[in-house]
Symmetry: D5
């Protein structure tokens, strides 16, 4: 089941640089693990913004919330979730 998610990141400028670097490193590792197991289907950068547009493939609303709330950057992001369905004109 697919969901479009847009994530906008805002890291407070008084967060210590090492703390920020550590969180981003964990975020990257987690994002790559989820891409490998097929749940994080697409991950694109929004041009000019500290933001991404992603597509997730999970089995339920609960699975998606658990996955997103465990993102290391979760406390520093605003997320917008759009549930997707099969389009009648889509070939795939």
């Amino acid at each position: 089941m697919l969901y479009l998610v847009r994530m906008d990141v805002t890291i407070p400028h008084d967060l210590p640089a090492e703390r920020a670097a550590e969180i981003k490193a964990r975020e990257k590792a987690y994002a790559q693990q989820l891409q490998r197991d097929g749940r994080w289907r697409h991950l694109w950068r929004v041009v000019g913004e500290y933001a991404n547009v992603s597509v997730f493939d999970v089995e339920s609303n609960d699975a998606l919330h658990t996955l997103l709330s465990e993102l290391p950057l979760f406390p520093y992001m605003r997320l917008q979730v759009t549930p997707l369905a099969q389009h009648p004109s889509a070939l795939a």
Copy 2:
């Protein structure tokens, strides 16, 4: 080069039904041709709305505008275009 495009359709309720059906049939044929040739990479329905979320893969801004403005439903849609870039954590 990738772009996220959201399309919201509003067909005036006084457009004759046959005219609407004819436009939609042409839209579907055109959408499927573009999917087959690789330019319309993803096409998803937004749940509960007469809208879609799509990803296009074209060679330039001009190519994208030409493609979108030739959609038979173009006069009846509001489009929002978001240019996408490679994300540093993306595997693909």
Copy 3:
């Protein structure tokens, strides 16, 4: 799987009254059938507006979109869909 859906209805004032009445009658019958089979869990009127707030219980995003797009009033409504998950403080 639960979804909150808000529906705002706008019936064009030049739609013939009998046509509107017929659509509303079908809407009501369909809404009651979906309540009986457990998919339309809650249906409340928003005070002072021609709008409702509803909770649906369906098995997938696709099932929800199919259900909503078959509502007789669908062409005359603006829908907002919010996917819901289990809350850690919820007893039920």
Copy 4:
């Protein structure tokens, strides 16, 4: 009498962790007590957000305000209250 309430939580990142944990523990206990006595009818998590959607059943506007303003997280939340009424197509 029913009300839909959406609560968006923003805890300042410089609030000490123990203080935050203590507030959340009291919030949970209070939320469960209100669910048990029937006033907090429904409590759902909004997928991907530190937010919930709830339905309250209280006897008056004043009773609702007193209940909400006593939530331990009240100073850290933005609340939106929508009064609900019986829908003519609702079975229950």
Copy 5:
């Protein structure tokens, strides 16, 4: 129980003038009856707009919705309802 209600009126310019006049006459009679029986406590014009700000005193959300949806101008208005409570600094 008190509610603040703002009503913005938009009468389609192709509604026949006599029809509009008849609706407004019924609206006025109904508004004055509700003021006399104490349910429509305050009724003020918003300066420069075809809109009013009102305070209603009714026994429940359901009573308010019934009252508002029976306004002759209801199909031509956008309503915003704000439930009110006793303020701790209010004398009355």
Copy 6:
């Protein structure tokens, strides 16, 4: 001359508690004095929010601004002022 004023209060969470308490006490005393002399006609709490809806009766725009800018909470509030006029359907 009447004005509707909505006041939304945001007290910074790092303002010392005693300072906040002292400001609120002065606000309450001032609000009650203005109610007694007839200038602050109505004062209601917005359900679920640290906000109020008020009606002021003053002789001019200047008098209203002076009154509002002297509120002890003025630096911590966002105010929205709506000038009101006599409504043709109002009995009072």
Copy 7:
């Protein structure tokens, strides 16, 4: 007493041209009469828009509403009214 008023005009494209011309002629005459008697203090065009920004000098909220609602273009305009007060740094 001064008020800033912004007026945005939208004349329906199916209003007969002579009818529109006649309304605009009456609007102009009325605007000039009000400028001569000192109530319409300033009248400026907003660059690039069918809109104006004006300053009115009237004795009360009621006087302003009466004046504005008698504008021949009133049914075709959206008005925003901002009450003004003496600024402590103003010389005049």
Copy 8:
């Protein structure tokens, strides 16, 4: 003196096709004449929208308003005007 102007075009779907074509032809001729004489410095299409982004070089606010209000498509466009100034880091 430079101004950024964004123009969004909405042609009513019941405007006769020949009338629309005639207006667009005049718009094109006028746009090209203004480009030739240096007043319409830049003209770009917004990708995916019936809209443009333009830069005008005129001697005053009045000159810009006159120029824009004489565009044949003016009654069918929404315009947003942003005055521009020399940037301290600009080479030109």
Copy 9:
């Protein structure tokens, strides 16, 4: 050449009081000098807000930007600039 400018002031509550007082004193002196030389034509307080509405008369966009960016409160204000033109119904 005239421009409408709205200025909304937000002074951070942790700015030292003497620093704020010194900035405001310089702002006042500068505002009065500009009124005297005719560039700051009108200066009004927005009722109930720490904001003003002003009209400037300067020779160019560049002159206006220079003037505004030299306001002592500039770093603490949000400005909105609206270029104005002669209105065809204006007497002056």
Copy 10:
């Protein structure tokens, strides 16, 4: 390939002045280098705001994102990117 970019700068008032000056000096040098090599085609100040409107000429979405994210002020700016295409009425 052209893109319109609007940049709004917000420098936190507690950033040390020397640090801010150093960032701005690097921003200016970088902006001028990009103007010289043709990628930053236009750079204009928005009148009355700490903001600019720019046009970039780059070969791809990725090239634009890399360029923008390397701006020294990037962490302190909000950017809006609009892809541009050839306009059918443009001479150039």
